[in-house]
Symmetry: C2
Subunit: 411 residues, 2 copies
């Protein structure tokens, strides 16, 4: 192990917000305060843009009360960017690091961020500039390699579970169909969390569709028809990223209007209600067309940006996010030169995690998807193994009650 | 005042769910248990359908623990319907009341329910059948006459305020536009609640559009352009019910696809993302077309059914909802023959309410809208008077923190 080196530290956050990114960087600050070799602790504003523009906030000048309040605050007070640095940006960042004796870099983000850090790390080595580079996991998608789960997932999953508890009961009042579209382009973990609030076998979501499974519109309609005939209602959770067998997004298959591209040139999935609306129309045509119901009550909601930013952190997620940040700082202080800070589960009952430092390259640019054992055989639900995996991550939910319908008044 | 009369009581719930309808009917049950003249306490399943079909659950047979858990549970365990009873249905209901010596009727609902109860009440009088008929206010729209505010509004407003706190911070990370569409066909109270989470003048929503004000697409684009130029971002709250000066819903003005009708034959506003998508496209064309931004980051979410069913009751709303139910039971036990149970505010500081029994006809079929003093002069925001009015209703929110951006690192 290398010894530590005296210099400044920079923390930046990158990619889509979660409810606990602030908690993580506050954790990094808490850890760094204990390291005598770390002189300045700076926050770059807007991710790597802040580094290139030398736009830094002095985090040691923030009051303890401010940091405490920020740790409860969703999204990231350091702001973000989706820019992936190229050759030129890497040079510029290294110049800034050298100019200001920045020796410790902490990037909180997903696999893109890990990849960027890996490239910067290699470039620093080429220049023989001693730099400590740490990636700290973050993403509501829960799709990072080396992690049992990622900070941010638990809170978003808590929201999705709670939202489905509510809309299931709402739907129960009138019957009919309800579709809720959840975030997740390639990984279905967040959509799968819709199952975590079920209290009885009658509770929705009755069907769950994940991007890991090819989505077939005909099978979908048949699945829904079956549930509808049994319960006179059907609550459905759908990942925004569902694709047909040719990997064409279903949003694109169903869409009649103009589709926008996101910053990576992919079809923009979030921030539009078109997928839910398209699926609702498809089911309406099927069920009304077959005469199963004359006038179908059908509603489609897209959970959108609220699911990743709702100010209700999972207590478990919060605690782990702070601790993982502190772990990153401790790694840097104990002579580690680089790595990705990840969560490992060491025990299921009782639920217990540890942190590890994984090689940056193991996380960089790779995507983890739902493993087969979490997906039900019919490809329209999750398994008990998934429930057991995910339940500890979202914290306690308010227990809800149900009327004992067996106590009928008889005459 | 008439004396009480021995007989059974029926409780039913009608119309759209809220987070606290169960709390209200549990409150009614708690009150009725103390009345010796009330023999059976029955819950009709699916509103007036349950009365007509004699489908009753014995609420005295539910355990205290079940009732407690139900009081925390969103939507209504008694289920609902949107059916408005006609002549025939009224006769059928009265037949059922007479057949089973039902003397106390409690209907929890909005102005439609109040109207139905008023008609049943008149019909009972015509038959000279002694019946006690009570309406208990409920609606997330907060649009009932005689009420300072209605049970259900506080919890839905709490959700909307919290959701906007989250999406405002999410939007702050990247900049660009964000539109959140809230429920409210004629009354803007729920959309207005988006302002309740603002902590600083920079916080969104920066613009709020209510159904009380004629909506003009050109003025809208200009409003947004102005905010965008100032902040490089803009968060916008929009009521689903916004209409142009000819009272055509904007959803209809913008829509290219097929529009569904709701159970009253109006254009279905909820359960579709079309309005948000249409407004986003309109702003994109305006801002990109004028060259103000080359590629606009713009997202539209429709809050949908989650906003009225999210399992996070406002503590104030919960307490008042239970108490209003108990008040209804007490009214019936103290010889009142009919009326609508309403919330009156007796003091702003400290916030304090009382309950009153208003004539059914004062509430029946009427809609309260946002008063002029709650709407900002530019018709794109709310006033401080609204904030003062609504803030006590949603309960405490977790305080959020903000980085002190003045503490820049200087070189």
């Amino acid at each position: 192990m290398a010894s530590t080196i005296q210099g400044n530290a920079v923390i930046f956050t990158q990619g889509g917000p979660t409810a606990v990114i602030n908690a993580t960087w506050v954790g990094v600050v808490q850890g760094l305060i204990l390291c005598k070799d770390v002189t300045g602790i700076w926050g770059a504003i807007n991710g790597i843009d802040g580094i290139m523009n030398e736009n830094f906030i002095d985090l040691k000048e923030q009051t303890a009360g401010t940091l405490q309040a920020i740790s409860y605050t969703p999204a990231t007070q350091l702001r973000s960017t989706r820019r992936k640095p190229g050759q030129e940006e890497n040079c510029r960042m290294l110049d800034v690091f050298q100019k200001h004796n920045i020796r410790y870099v902490f990037g909180i983000g997903g696999n893109d961020t890990s990849e960027s850090l890996d490239i910067i790390n290699d470039a620093a080595r080429d220049r023989e500039y001693e730099l400590r580079v740490f990636h700290v996991a973050k993403t509501v998608d829960n799709d990072l390699m080396e992690n049992d789960h990622t900070p941010g997932y638990g809170s978003a999953a808590r929201y999705v579970a709670n939202a489905f508890r509510g809309v299931n009961l709402d739907n129960q009042c009138f019957g009919g169909l309800y579709i809720g579209v959840c975030m997740g382009r390639h990984a279905g973990f967040l959509t799968a969390a819709s199952a975590l609030g079920r209290q009885s076998p009658e509770d929705g979501p009755h069907l769950i569709y994940l991007p890991e499974c090819p989505f077939n519109l005909e099978k979908f309609a048949k699945d829904v028809e079956e549930v509808y005939k049994r319960h006179n209602r059907c609550v459905i959770a759908v990942s925004e990223g569902i694709e047909d067998e040719n990997h064409t997004p279903i949003l694109q298959v169903l869409s009649t209007g103009r589709l926008e591209a996101d910053s990576h040139g992919n079809v923009q999935l979030s921030g539009t209600g078109a997928l839910a609306d398209g699926l609702v129309n498809h089911l309406r045509e099927h069920l009304e067309g077959k005469g199963i119901v004359k006038k179908l009550r059908a509603r489609g909601d897209t959970f959108g940006y609220v699911q990743r930013s709702f100010p209700d952190q999972s207590p478990v997620d919060r605690e782990e996010s702070i601790a993982l940040g502190t772990f990153a700082a401790e790694c840097s202080a104990s002579g580690n030169i680089d790595g990705s800070c990840a969560i490992v589960r060491v025990s299921d009952r009782p639920y217990k995690v540890e942190f590890k430092l994984a090689p940056l390259k193991n996380v960089a640019g790779k995507t983890r998807r739902m493993p087969a054992e979490f997906i039900a055989a019919g490809q329209n639900d999750v398994t008990d193994a998934f429930i057991e995996y995910a339940k500890p991550l979202i914290g306690e939910l308010t227990p809800l009650g149900a009327l004992d319908m067996s106590k009928k008044v008889t005459f």
